[in-house]
Amino acid sequence: MALKNPFIVFEHDIYALTSTGERELRGGETFLAPADIELLVRTDGGSTVAQVAAGMQSVPAPAVREAYARLARAGLVDLASNLRDDSLDFTDFFSDKPRPAPSEQELARVRAEAASGVSSLQAEGFYVRIARCSSKPWPREDGRTPAAIVVEDDPHLGEFLKTYLAFDGFDVRLVANRDQIIEALREPQLPDLVLLDVMLPDIDGFDVLLKMRQHAALKTVPVIMVTSKATREAVLTGLARGADGYLTKPVEPDTLKKAIRAVLGADAGSTKGCVG
């Protein structure tokens, strides 16, 4: 993929912090002007320049664009598309290369959690791993339309989920196979939510989840597994690979709504027990 010039700033561009920018922001000492620091704080890798500028009421939009160009020259920010890991292919899943196994400590923890997860799945139709729930407020403060990816190979069920999420205010992409998943994950705007079917025609949903959790930009994206199998083994696999929640089929609209709100931190009560 060809890199774009980050020094020429357009309103629709999306910037993200470079590792240097993150260090600058977290370091105890900085020589940046307060407005530049605020701009770094507001740069989340998902909001456009126009959206960031709208939130910075004390700084006019042209000055925000100039500041982005200045910060890009200093190596503190870059276009999000330039920073995305383009190596998100799934070739390794079909080779004999062994997958990294979770540690014994991690396994012991998820085994215990899986037991309670299955009980919740069977009783309520969904299970949300609240320890991983989003730390960001919901709805997002930047005002942009949230994006969701629905991975489902049954066209009717996929359309059902897409319709529901669109009704709930999401911009939804419906994908059904490995190539479409990769294409959707490479879009400039990171998804705010992924609903992920387990059994897909050419890839296992748990493998997609694992790959996402190993990816720098995608590892914190909330993922809800949508599955027909509420077995302890399935929940165990998903927890070990970093799922945020589970939803069993048949999918009930009310259950779907509750699970999504809990994972996104939209319910005040759902933040109880969150880590970090």
Binding site: D153, D154, H156, L157, E159, F160, T163, Y164, A166, F167, M199, P201, T227, S228, K249, P250, V251
Partner: protein, 110 residues
């Protein structure tokens, strides 16, 4: 999208799903015949299991619960065979054939 448009869209989606069910079941029956003829097995059985799995999840979502339950039972039976790593024995074949017939009858009566 307004709430009534949302409901209307879901109703239309459910109707379209039920209209497509005979074709889905025909595909399952074809995979079953293919698997039992020995051509393409065990790949055929894996594909059959996947189709039954998809049908089990979607049918219950769109209110055709009996079809979903039958598909779930057939999938579980195939799951057990796959776990053992052996082709279905005579008893399992008979039961799978019965379940697939029952799915077809249920769809015809839906």
């Amino acid at each position: 999208m307004r709430a009534e448009d949302f409901r209307r869209h879901l109703d239309a989606l459910g109707a379209d799903y039920r209209a497509c069910l005979p074709a889905k079941v025909a595909a399952i029956r074809s995979l079953w015949r293919h698997s039992m003829s020995g051509v393409g097995a065990p790949e055929g059985l894996t594909e059959l299991k996947r189709e039954l799995h998809t049908l089990a999840g979607s049918a219950r979502t769109f209110g055709v619960a009996d079809v979903g339950e039958l598909a779930r039972a057939a999938e579980s039976l195939l799951d057990a065979c796959c776990e053992r790593g052996t082709p279905p024995d005579a008893g399992s074949v008979t039961e799978l054939a019965r379940l697939i017939d029952a799915i077809q009858r249920s769809v015809a009566g839906a």
